[in-house]
C-alpha cells in the first residue's frame, strides 16, 4: 500500500478513471453497436447481434468510399500545403529582425478561431450574393456571381482554403521556434567552406527542423477531424454530397437517418484513420529525434 502511494499510479489514477469512463467504455459500446442493426427509433435492436453485416454493407457502399477517398485526399493536400506554407512563413519571419515579435503574434491570429467560426467567416466570404470574394471580383468586371459553395470543385477548394487559413499558423509558429533554436556555428562554417544558401538549407537547416515538422504534424493529426466543423458550417456536406467527408457522413447516418449501428461501423473506420495518421507522425518524430542525437 505504501509502495502504491509513493508510486506513479496514484497520480495517474484520476486521469485513467476519467478516460476509461468517458472514452474507453463508450468506444467499447460503439464497437458492440457496430455489430448490431441499432436504430434510435427502435431501441430493442441494440441487443441483436448481426456480426459483420454493417461492415460488409460498407464495403459495397459507393457513397462511403467516395467520402473516404475525399477525406484522405483532402487531408493529404491540406496537410502538405499547410506544411509548405508554414515553412515559407517561418523562413520569412526568421529573416525579419525588426518587428519579428509582432509578426509572430499576428501569426497566431487564426489559431484562436473556433473551427465553427472559421467555417462561418469563409461561408460569408464565399457567399455568392454578398460575399467579399464576389464583391471584390465584381470590381474587376466579373459581373456573373461565381457559385463558390454550390459548384462541386469550387466548394471543395473553398473548404480547403478555410482549412489552410486556420491551420497553417500551427506549422509556422512551431517551425519558427525550431529555426530560432538552430545553432549559428555550423551555418557560418558551411558558408566559409563555400556552401550556397540552398546547400545550407538542405544539409543543415532542414535536418535540424525535421523533429519540429513532425511535432507539428503530430499535433495537427490529433485534431484533423475539426474539418468536420468547418464543412458542416460551410456546406453541410452538400450540395448533393459533393463535399461530404467521412465525418459529415457519420453525423448524417447516425443522427439524421438514426442508423446508429451503421454510423458506429463507419466511425470505427474513421478512428483507425486518425490513429494511423497520429502513429505515423509520432513514429517519424521519434526517428528524427534519434537521428539528430546521433549526429
Amino acid at each position: 500500500m505504501r509502495k502504491f502511494l509513493n508510486g506513479p499510479w496514484v497520480l495517474l489514477m484520476p486521469t485513467l478513471i476519467i478516460l476509461t469512463c468517458v472514452v474507453l467504455l463508450p468506444l467499447l459500446l460503439s464497437l458492440w453497436t457496430s455489430f448490431t442493426p441499432f436504430k434510435l427509433t427502435k431501441p430493442d435492436t441494440l441487443y441483436r447481434f448481426v456480426g459483420f453485416r454493417n461492415y460488409e454493407r460498407l464495403i459495397g457502399d459507393l457513397d462511403f468510399w467516395i467520402a473516404f477517398g475525399r477525406t484522405v485526399l483532402f487531408l493529404a493536400i491540406a496537410l502538405n500545403l499547410e506544411l509548405v506554407f508554414g515553412l515559407g512563413i517561418a523562413l520569412l519571419i526568421n529573416k525579419i529582425t525588426y518587428g519579428q515579435r509582432t509578426l509572430r503574434t499576428l501569426m497566431m491570429f487564426p489559431m484562436m478561431f473556433s473551427p465553427i467560426l472559421v467555417g462561418f467567416q469563409w461561408k460569408y466570404i464565399f457567399n455568392d450574393n454578398i460575399g467579399l470574394m464576389n464583391n471584390f471580383l465584381r470590381e474587376f468586371g466579373v459581373i456573373q456571381p461565381i457559385p463558390w459553395l454550390v459548384d462541386g470543385i469550387l466548394a471543395n477548394v473553398s473548404i480547403m482554403a478555410a482549412e489552410i487559413w486556420s491551420s497553417t499558423s500551427v506549422f509556422a509558429i512551431l517551425l519558427l521556434a525550431g529555426l530560432l533554436g538552430i545553432p549559428k556555428d555550423p551555418i557560418e562554417a558551411a558558408k566559409v567552406d563555400g556552401c550556397n544558401s540552398w546547400q545550407v538549407f538542405k544539409n543543415i537547416t532542414l535536418p535540424f527542423l525535421m523533429p519540429f515538422v513532425f511535432i507539428a504534424m503530430t499535433i495537427r493529426s490529433l485534431d484533423v477531424a475539426r474539418a468536420y466543423d468547418i464543412v458542416q458550417m460551410m456546406t453541410g456536406g452538400g450540395p448533393a454530397k459533393r463535399t461530404e467527408l467521412l465525418w459529415t457522413l457519420i453525423s448524417r447516418t447516425g443522427y439524421v437517418d438514426a442508423k446508429m449501428g451503421m454510423a458506429n461501423a463507419m466511425s470505427y473506420i474513421s478512428i483507425f484513420l486518425s490513429i494511423a495518421f497520429t502513429f505515423f507522425f509520432f513514429y517519424k518524430l521519434v526517428e528524427a529525434r534519434q537521428r539528430l542525437s546521433y549526429e
Binding site: L103, F212, V224
Partner: protein, 286 residues
C-alpha cells in the same frame, strides 16, 4: 539600389501580403457586425464603412430597441451563460487532474511509460463526431443529455491529454534536485510539490488552463449532439443553428461571432509565449 536592399523590400512586401491574408477574414466579420444591413447587402458593394452602429449588439443583449423587429430571436444570453459555465468548470477539473497526471509522468519512471503517454494522447485523436455516437446512447439512457454535467464530463476527458502533455514538459524543466534537497531537509513529498514545484511551474499550468478553456470554448462536434435546447447549447452551437437558417441576418450573426472571438482573442495573447515552449519542449527532449 544594391542586392541587399532589393532583398529587404521583397521580404517586407511578402510580409505585408501575409498579414493582409491572415487578418482580412476575421476583421471583415468584426466590421460587418457594426454595419447596417443595407450596406452589407448593397450592390455594388460599399467598401468604405459608414454609419457604423451597435444595433446588432443591443438587439442581442437587450432584446432590440424601439422601431427594430422587437425581441432578438437569438437567446444569446443563455448561450453565453452555458458556454461560460461549461468552459470554466471543465477547465478547472481538467487542469487539476491533468497537472497531477503530468507530475506523475515527469517525476516517475515506470515500465512502458512512453506507451501509456502515447495511449493517453491517442484518446485525443478520436474524432469528436465518432465519440459522440456512443456517448449520445449512454447519456440518453442515464439522463445526461442536454445537461451541463454531461457536457462538462466529456470536455474534462477531452482536455486532460493536452494538459498532461504541457505540464509534463514544464515539470521536467524543473531540476529534480530542488525538491530532493527540500525532502532531505524534512519536507514530505507533498510539501515539496506544493512549495517548490507547483509555484515554479505556475505559468505553465496557467497556460495549460487557458488552452483547455479555449478548446472547451471552441468545441462544436460533441456539444452539438449532446445539447438539445437552450439549457445547454453553447455559443458555437448557437452560431451554427442560426447560420443554417434559410435567410441569414449576416450583421447579426457577425455580432454573435464577435462574442465568441473576444474571450479567445484575449486569452490566446496571454499564453502565446508559453504555448510554443511547452509543446516543443515536451516533443524534442523526449
Amino acid at each position: 539600389m544594391n542586392k541587399k536592399q532589393i532583398n529587404n523590400i521583397l521580404i517586407w512586401f511578402s510580409a505585408i501580403i501575409l498579414i493582409i491574408l491572415i487578418m482580412t477574414p476575421g476583421l471583415w466579420v468584426v466590421l460587418t457586425a457594426f454595419r447596417p444591413q443595407v450596406d452589407v447587402m448593397a450592390k455594388p458593394a460599399v467598401w468604405i464603412p459608414r454609419n457604423l452602429n451597435l444595433i446588432q449588439f443591443e438587439t442581442m443583449l437587450f432584446g432590440g430597441s424601439e422601431g427594430s423587429m422587437g425581441r432578438s430571436p437569438i437567446p444569446v444570453l443563455s448561450y453565453l451563460r452555458n458556454s461560460l459555465i461549461i468552459s470554466f468548470t471543465s477547465t478547472f477539473i481538467a487542469v487539476l487532474v491533468g497537472t497531477i497526471g503530468g507530475y506523475g509522468f515527469a517525476r516517475h519512471n515506470f515500465k512502458h511509460k512512453n506507451k501509456y503517454f502515447l495511449l493517453i494522447m491517442l484518446t485525443r485523436t478520436i474524432p469528436g463526431i465518432s465519440l459522440s455516437l456512443p456517448i449520445f446512447i449512454i447519456f440518453s439512457k442515464i439522463g445526461l443529455i442536454d445537461t451541463h454535467i454531461g457536457i462538462i464530463l466529456v470536455f474534462v476527458a477531452l482536455n486532460i491529454p493536452f494538459t498532461i502533455w504541457l505540464t509534463d514538459g514544464f515539470f521536467r524543466q524543473i531540476p529534480r534536485a530542488m525538491s530532493e534537497v527540500a525532502m532531505t531537509d524534512g519536507c514530505t513529498k507533498i510539501q515539496a510539490f506544493w512549495h517548490i514545484e507547483l509555484p515554479l511551474s505556475r505559468s505553465g499550468i496557467a497556460s495549460a488552463g487557458i488552452f483547455a478553456f479555449l478548446i472547451s470554448w471552441n468545441e462544436y462536434a460533441l456539444v452539438s449532439n449532446l445539447a438539445r435546447s437552450t439549457d445547454s447549447k453553447t455559443l458555437t452551437v448557437g452560431l451554427m443553428d442560426f447560420t443554417a437558417q434559410f435567410t441569414i441576418n449576416w450583421p447579426g450573426m457577425c455580432a454573435l461571432a464577435v462574442f465568441i472571438i473576444i474571450p479567445a482573442l484575449i486569452l490566446t495573447f496571454m499564453v502565446q509565449k508559453h504555448l510554443v515552449t511547452g509543446l516543443t519542449f515536451g516533443g524534442v527532449k523526449g
